[in-house]
Symmetry: C2
Subunit: 183 residues, 2 copies
């Protein structure tokens, strides 16, 4: 998985091959060829691994401050700045996502990723409502708004040059939480 | 431009060539080869044409109901359903956008598209504030939130299978306008 990450980041999706992943792999290369049918097979396993890793990292504590958890989740997905490695990786992920309309197994993975993000936000919203810090909003619809905003920001960040985008988005999100969500 | 649209929709970005565009072109094919250096050159002209067409279609009447104009603009970008032709075209546009991280001229075009959408929304927000129907929100930051939400919804629509996404997003947007933006 680490070898796939490095190869993807360096070569992008279009130029990726299983042999380029093998170049990054320290263990037996035949093991890699034995386990995976080709780059798409390996990438599906990689996308699954990414979601699992991300999910394992996310805390969902119904007793903790829901607003703080929501803000920190957003910061993980939309950090104020990206270093070169993060930018290369986001770019490669977008290239894979652009294959999803024609590739059902990729589409399944991105459907899972989107569902995970949406459901996590939904749980933060419901905790906040329970805790009395958030108003009684429609948590499913509101979580979808957050998800699309996050996906859009990730897309814009690598495909357009608007130096103010992330700052403006964070400021709008602040107002949204403080003036709309807050109980 | 019509020939480019048809070829792009049918073949997608990766399989597109200037000869496939020429196949859709009723006039002299040599004219096409004479005017454009290759598929990328033609696609940049096509992206410029799309923005111009879209901009010409959008009404920005400071005297008209700003909320209605904002809703109708959103509906244009995120219609409740896509027919096959619209879906094919959105898919092809995403494939081009996924090239933008490595391709400066594409990135310039998507920067322009994003700017046009953001500035249009900003003007609707400012009209609404002027008309007294919207609260005095930070129109630049709020327009960025709308833009990312729109870009995310367009991306999700063709790359993930969530039949509720658009319905939920519209419902969240309704609440946002009625309970947050409304004066």
């Amino acid at each position: 998985m680490e070898a796939t990450y490095q190869a993807l980041r360096k070569h992008g999706y279009a130029d990726l091959s299983i042999s380029k992943i093998a170049e990054e792999f320290e263990k037996s290369k035949s093991l890699l060829y034995h386990h995976y049918d080709g780059k798409d097979d390996l990438l599906v396993a990689f996308l699954e691994y990414l979601i699992d890793q991300f999910a394992a990292d996310i805390t969902l504590d119904a007793w903790d401050d829901a607003e703080a958890q929501l803000r920190s989740f957003f910061d993980r997905l939309i950090p104020p700045a990206l270093d070169d490695e993060q930018r290369e990786f986001q770019t490669a992920l977008l290239e894979i996502r652009a294959q999803a309309p024609h590739n059902e197994v990729y589409r399944e993975q991105f459907t899972k990723t989107d569902r995970f993000i949406r459901e996590t936000i939904e749980q933060y919203l419901e905790s906040g409502i329970e805790q009395g810090t958030f108003r009684e909003v429609d948590s499913e619809a509101t979580a979808q708004l957050f998800l699309s905003m996050i996906n859009g920001a990730i897309l814009e960040r690598v495909t357009a040059d608007n130096p103010r985008a992330i700052k403006d988005l964070r400021s709008a999100l602040n107002s949204y939480i403080e003036e709309y969500l807050a109980a």
